[in-house]
């Protein structure tokens, strides 16, 4: 049963205080600092992500994309809101539902789409696929396929920032299913123990694949509360409200930057599609009515669009134009990906070892790495 039926739609979770109103959130320091252009840009970012995902789905159905495809539709405000607060020494890492974060940090639709098409022009040269986007130049460290496995890595990013004395933080994203992984609890403990500048963002879309939160997690009110066990501050957020995401994340980033304190933020959101496109039961483990309720009443793009309209910053025509432009960009990305070449077979052997890729470029490195790695010659690929 959805919350709307119980009349508690404004509560983040049962028993919690009401979420601040849009007007109140707009007046908070972090949101008031946004210029009209900033606000339209954030709106556009969310629309672009949705258009990209819709085009990705079509490409998958056309057989252009292999493997799994985990779509971000419905969760756009989380990635866009969080990333909008990142400074030069703030870093981000996430799991396999990684397209939204990738576009939010500024990766292009072309390189992302081409990666999923398995093309040489992809962000990882076609070696990672949908689940493994990376852009270290944009402080984006992936894109990780094993549930919860990225959380210790994110904790390491925060450790490195503290070690280097930088005023930065790590934003480590995970789903609600990940909080039951041991590696996540180990990372929570290390972050609390060593007071690392990190924000653990639980994107709670209610289902770990096909298993609801109630059937997978021991909890009273929310999952973020588990942070208490590890001496971490925690909070809950309406993940579909961009202003709320920004407000709560900004507090956490400030805590990380000024006090080197970790935070767990649970952002309640919803994915419209299945766990992956291969999830044939996406409408069986949850009611169609629930999906429709989120789309109609709590859609992050519609919510923020309405706020901007109320603020006099966005008109219906303009919103349609933004959507049209985003779709055209996604279509162009699909065309780019389609036309791009696949990597050469030799590429299979590249990018595994730094020392192999850099052989002959640095005498010191060659002096350290004189040996031949088994099958470096490629076995079948480059048989003598």
């Amino acid at each position: 049963m959805s919350d709307t039926d119980t009349g508690t739609e404004n509560l983040l979770y049962p028993g919690q205080e009401q979420e601040p109103s849009a007007e109140e959130l707009a007046k908070t320091e972090i949101n008031a600092a946004l210029s009209p252009e900033d606000k339209l840009r954030l709106y556009t970012e969310m629309v672009r992500i949705r258009a990209f995902e819709a085009r990705s789905l079509r490409a998958y159905q056309q057989g252009k994309i292999g493997g799994f495809l985990h779509l971000y539709e419905g969760q756009e405000a989380v990635a866009v809101g969080c990333v909008s607060l990142m400074g030069p020494d703030d870093h981000i890492i996430t799991a396999y539902r990684d397209h939204g974060h990738a576009l939010a940090v500024g990766m292009t639709m072309n390189e992302c789409m081409a990666e999923m098409f398995g093309k040489a022009t992809g962000c990882s040269k076609g070696k990672g696929g949908s689940m493994h986007f990376f852009a270290p130049d944009k402080n984006y460290w992936g894109g990780h396929g094993i549930v919860g496995g990225q959380v210790p890595l994110g904790t390491g990013l925060a450790f490195a920032l503290k070690y280097q004395g930088k005023k930065g933080c790590a934003l480590a994203f995970m789903g609600d299913g990940a909080v039951n992984q041991g590696a996540v609890h180990e990372a929570f403990n290390l972050a609390g123990l060593w007071q690392l500048p990190i924000i653990f963002v639980i994107e709670n879309n209610k289902y770990s694949m096909g298993t609801s939160q109630a059937r997978s997690s021991a909890y009273d009110d929310c999952l973020a509360k588990r942070g208490e066990a590890y001496d971490m501050d925690w909070g809950v957020v309406n993940g579909n409200n961009l202003y709320h995401v920004r407000e709560k994340t900004a507090e956490a980033i400030k805590r990380a930057h000024t006090d080197s304190r970790p935070t767990v933020l649970e952002m309640f959101t919803y994915r419209y599609r299945g766990h992956s496109v291969a999830d044939a039961n996406a409408e069986k483990y949850r009611e169609k009515k629930e999906i429709q309720d989120y789309k109609t009443n709590r859609d992050p793009i519609a919510l923020f669009g309405n706020i901007l309209k109320a603020e006099g910053l966005l008109k219906d025509e303009q919103a349609k134009e933004i959507e049209k432009t985003a779709r055209a960009e996604a279509d162009a990305a699909a065309q780019f990906a389609d036309k791009s070449p696949f990597p050469n077979p030799e590429a299979i052997l590249e990018d595994s070892y730094w020392s192999v890729d850099n052989k002959g470029k640095d005498a010191d490195i060659d002096a350290l790495n004189q040996g031949r790695i088994i099958f470096e010659d490629g076995g079948l690929l480059k048989k003598k």
């Binding site: 040269k125 493994h132 990018d351 595994s352 730094w354 350290l368």
Partner: protein, 324 residues
Amino acid sequence: MRKITYRQAIKEALAEEIERDENVFVMGEEVAQYNGAYKVTEGLWQKYGDKRLVDAPISEAGFVGLGIGASMLGLRPVMEFMFWSFCYVAFDQLLNNGSFCRYMSGGLMNVPITVRGPANGGTNVGATHSHTPENLCANHPGIKVVCPSNAYDAKGLMKTAIRDNDPVFVMENTLLYGQEWEVPEDEYIIPMGKANILKEGKDISFIAHGRAAITALEAAGIMASEHDIDAEVLDLRSIRPLDVEAILATVKKTNRVVLVEENKPFCGVDAQISHIIQEEAFDHLDAPIKRVSSIDAPQIYSMPLEKIQIPDARRVVKKALEIC
């Protein structure tokens, strides 16, 4: 030349690299205030402090993952496993994130981490604490695996590992920690992937890694003194990169080979080496390739039986005589 223990040699490597590069730090269970479960890091915390010597909770997946993440931002963590046997609870971090992050990013990022600790049987601690995972780890492209057999190699290879831009797993041996070898005072490093001839010979080749190389050397002594057979002993030093040229050279020289390892035989390192030899030097073999490994069962606790399970010089000699 001065003689120092294998333990002291590793400690010197850590200290020198800590002084050389501010990005190097050592993390692990009991490495700092406790002075190391096997005293490898003894005294380093007093000298270099909390920042460079970090006591981690018993949380291998957590702290190894943390080290990998930190290395992505340019730190050079040296993570200690009290035993490599504990790597199994950190496998996802080591072998998904450690080995594959660089590849999956199309070479955009590096993981310059060193993971070290003892990986050996022979100490009567039962199957859970007696793993030799060099074969498992080397099966993952992206990882380098080093198994030093003596103090000189342990120091030189450890320094190379720490400076390496790829993840390097250094597998030590508790039974060697207290043994002494000649180690120069002056700084040196040992290239990765260069095998070492411990003893020249012309009649048969013993190829080994880690402590098995010492066993092979002892066996070569018996071959000479009791059987008048001149065995060559090749110490691989690193499993990956593997010095295929050195392996083929010794086989082509002696035409007979016994592979010695403390790894279990099934899918062991020597299974791979045996394949390479038959493929690349088949015409140079005058006899079948023989192997001496730990007996293929979980490591037994019982003291006299564990001595039987792990290869000793007599077992190597017996196997060698089958083809001489």
